[in-house]
């Protein structure tokens, strides 16, 4: 029985009664994972028909292929000491790419940090990936954040912020703004997708964001990436409930759990969620199930907290290989062309990396811009004093001193 809100029901609850004292079971909900493609890239016999066209399918595949190569190369660059830090998407490429593919390009993306595939799908140029990782002067973020903290207004990809969970209520607010704008302009609304890990879903901001989105009818898709770990903390020490999806009902929100290794299933799930979100101005929660195959980041070594056996077990379950097999079977992808393309991309990535690492750092003045819209007096003074100081000790600040002198 569903509840109806009224003066007779100020508590806003289901109004049925019971005379039998018994617990609502902690397992009262049991949410299966939606699947289409099996491990060999074949449709399950029971699977529903795919709506993914060839062009989009290939764009998804190409994005995943690119990201895998980029990740490999950048991790190596970190190991070589060329960049300070890196995070891979390994194991979650399908989940991120297919979900973004199911959106409109004008939809907003709030990501956590492991979602570079979404940005790549939107066409973010390779050299800008590099500029960010090398904090050089072409970085859209002006060299202020650690590697992998991408952001691009043009690509509707909100700049990554390290504090976990903060983007969740922000996404609700952003989506509310999209709804408001659509109603003012009398057009169909765009929506927002918000990615976060199963670890971040423990933050208070998760509760705030989902509840507010539900109450205020914001067109936002909450996309929980359950990849089994938050750094070293296994999901079993993160929550006791049935994953993240089962929380949706607590907010009066619709939910879907999907196999995050299955490109087709993720695509269909997000497509359905988006349709619902923009048509009814309602949030939807999607939980995507995958495994964080890589270390948490370049600073992490998972051998300290999980077994090689477990990793091997999941390594076999590769989202890119699965989708590739599907494409080959569809006759949409030629294996040897694919291999040639990979070689080509590897070379492009390496060239871009080499180019980026020689681009100079941002101007010293960027140290004090963007704190406020204008530079206030006290910051201007601090900047001037710093400049004089650097000129006094040019050798101690080699990156900036030479360029300041040039300006003089």
């Amino acid at each position: 029985m569903s509840k109806t809100q009224s003066v007779d029901n100020p508590n806003n609850i289901n109004t049925s009664d019971t005379f039998t004292l018994d617990f609502v079971s902690e397992n009262a909900l049991s949410i299966p994972s939606f699947k289409m493609l099996n491990a060999d890239g074949e449709m399950y016999p029971e699977a529903q028909k795919s709506s993914l066209d060839k062009t989009t399918a290939l764009k998804i595949y190409e994005t995943m292929r690119f990201i895998r190569i980029l990740d490999e190369r950048m991790l190596a660059a970190q190991r070589q000491g060329r960049i300070s830090f890196y995070m891979q998407c390994l194991g979650e490429e399908a989940s991120i790419t297919a979900s973004t593919a199911a959106l409109d390009d004008q939809d907003m993306i709030f990501a956590q940090y492991r979602e570079q595939a979404a940005l790549a799908y939107r066409g973010f140029p390779l050299d800008l990936f590099m500029s960010q990782n090398f904090s050089n002067k072409d970085d859209l973020g002006k060299g202020r954040q650690m590697p992998i903290h991408y952001g691009s207004n043009k690509h509707n990809y909100m700049t990554i912020s390290s504090p976990l969970g903060t983007q969740i209520p922000q996404a609700a607010g952003y989506a509310y703004g999209q709804k408001l704008e659509a109603s003012i302009q009398n057009k169909e609304t765009n929506c927002t997708i918000c990615y976060f890990g199963e670890g971040a879903a423990s933050e208070g901001d998760f509760h705030a964001g989902l509840n507010m989105a539900a109450v205020h009818n914001a067109p936002v898709i909450f996309f929980a990436r359950n990849n089994g770990y938050a750094i070293s903390t296994p999901a079993s020490e993160q929550f006791k409930g049935d994953g993240i999806a089962c929380r949706a009902v607590g907010y009066g929100m619709k939910a879907i759990r999907v196999d995050g290794v299955d490109t087709l299933a993720v695509y269909e799930a997000v497509k359905l969620a988006r349709e619902h979100a923009v048509k009814h101005n309602e949030p939807v929660l999607i939980e995507s199930i995958a495994y964080r195959l890589a270390a948490h980041s370049s600073s992490d070594d998972p051998s300290g907290y999980r077994s090689k056996d477990e990793e091997e077990n999941f390594r076999a379950n590769c989202p890119v290989a699965r989708f590739r097999a599907y494409l080959v079977k569809q006759g949409w992808l030629d294996e040897s062309e694919d291999e040639a393309a990979k070689e080509q991309i590897r070379k492009q990535v390496l060239d871009a990396l080499k180019a980026a690492e020689h681009v100079e750092k941002p101007e010293l003045s960027e140290l004090v811009t963007d704190v406020y819209d204008d530079i206030p007096n006290h910051l201007q003074q601090q900047y001037e004093a710093l400049k004089q100081h650097i000129l006094k000790y040019p050798d101690a600040y080699p990156v900036t001193s030479s360029r300041i002198e040039e300006q003089q």
Binding site: K142, P169, G173, L180, A208, M212, T369, D370, H378, L379
Partner: protein
């Protein structure tokens, strides 16, 4: 011009700003139909509808998180935190997000559209959790502006400027004066700059500096000192970040003496920042140590509120200490 108290002045600012900006929202706990527990937002929902003026669930971190997103989308987001004592659950959203939004993105995104309104301060028998003045926590956070009106006229002009500003602003409203401060306030829009202190009263012998409700206390102390033939220059800082060092320093260069007063506890308060800066700016001109008259370094009490507060008598004593140094 009309006679308004501070709540009416704030209400008028909100009405005009919302009329001007179709993409603007006012939201927070109880601000909707009811018009807020102090009624600062009354009539707004009626006028602008539930989609632009609404109650939120009871979650401050959500209110500001939502506001950050809304502001980033391009909506003038005017959020209320019911009491400044309850702003702390939103501290992460303000300090790590609001304040760093533009910087970290290289100006790809910003939340310059955000204004956080919140009633602050003591003297109303509110005890620990309805009396705090938390401005110093935010003043140590580059990226947000912090504004304090001292009366109804200032409240309207400063709030309208805060809404216009392209930077996020925390707007601290002295709730003790909500109804007590009544004055002539223009009915139309006007702006007051967000980086200028105001010399409220000229004087020669000593400079008294405060913000918000504490300005009135300074004026009262100046009145007392006048009877001792001490001529006080009273300055209302108005904006805590960025603050108008020049106006304050110029005054102290003239008077040679400074008393700063704040409601918050002494240690680590914004008065300390002012003292640190002014001892540097005016070192050779200072005739006596800069005095800070502040709350005690305890949580805000109830039974001994009167004793705890930085009242005019304590300021008066500080003036005398300074002048007789």
């Amino acid at each position: 011009m009309a006679k308004m108290n501070m709540l009416q002045a704030i209400n008028s600012a909100l009405m005009l700003s919302m009329e001007e900006h179709e993409k603007s929202c006012v939201f927070g706990e109880d601000v909707g139909y009811f018009g807020g527990v102090f009624r600062a937002t009354s009539g707004l929902q009626e006028k602008f509808g539930k989609s632009r003026v609404f109650n939120t669930p009871l979650v401050e971190q959500g209110i500001i998180g939502f506001a950050n997103g809304l502001a980033a989308q391009g909506v003038k987001a005017i959020a209320e935190i019911q009491f400044a004592d309850y702003i702390f659950p939103a501290f992460d959203q303000i300090v790590n997000e609001t304040a760093k939004f533009r910087y970290r993105s290289g100006n790809e995104f910003n939340v310059g559209n955000l204004v956080i309104r919140t009633p602050y301060g003591g003297g109303i028998a509110g005890g620990l959790y309805h009396s705090q003045s938390p401005e110093a926590y935010f003043a140590h956070t580059p990226g947000v502006k912090i504004v304090f009106p001292r009366n109804a006229y200032q409240a309207k002009g400063l709030l309208m400027s805060s809404i216009e500003a392209n930077d996020p602003v925390i707007f601290f409203e002295p709730k003790r004066l909500y109804r007590a401060s009544v004055g002539e306030v223009p009915e139309d829009k006007y702006l007051i700059p967000l980086d200028k202190a105001e010399v409220v009263q000229q004087g020669e012998d000593i400079t008294l500096l405060a913000w918000g409700a504490q300005v009135e206390i300074m004026e009262k102390a100046a009145e007392m000192a006048k009877k001792d033939n001490i001529s006080c220059e009273v300055i209302d800082l108005r904006t805590i970040v960025p603050w108008d060092v020049e106006t304050v320093a110029n005054s102290v260069l003239k008077t040679g003496r400074l008393v700063v007063s704040q409601e918050a506890p002494l240690t680590g308060g914004f008065a300390s920042e002012i003292a640190a800066t002014i001892q540097q700016e005016c070192f050779l001109h200072l005739e006596s140590p800069i005095e800070r008259v502040c709350g005690l370094d305890t949580p805000y009490p109830l039974a001994h509120e009167k004793e705890y507060m930085a009242d005019h008598l304590k300021v008066y004593e500080a003036i005398k200490r300074s002048v007789n140094y």
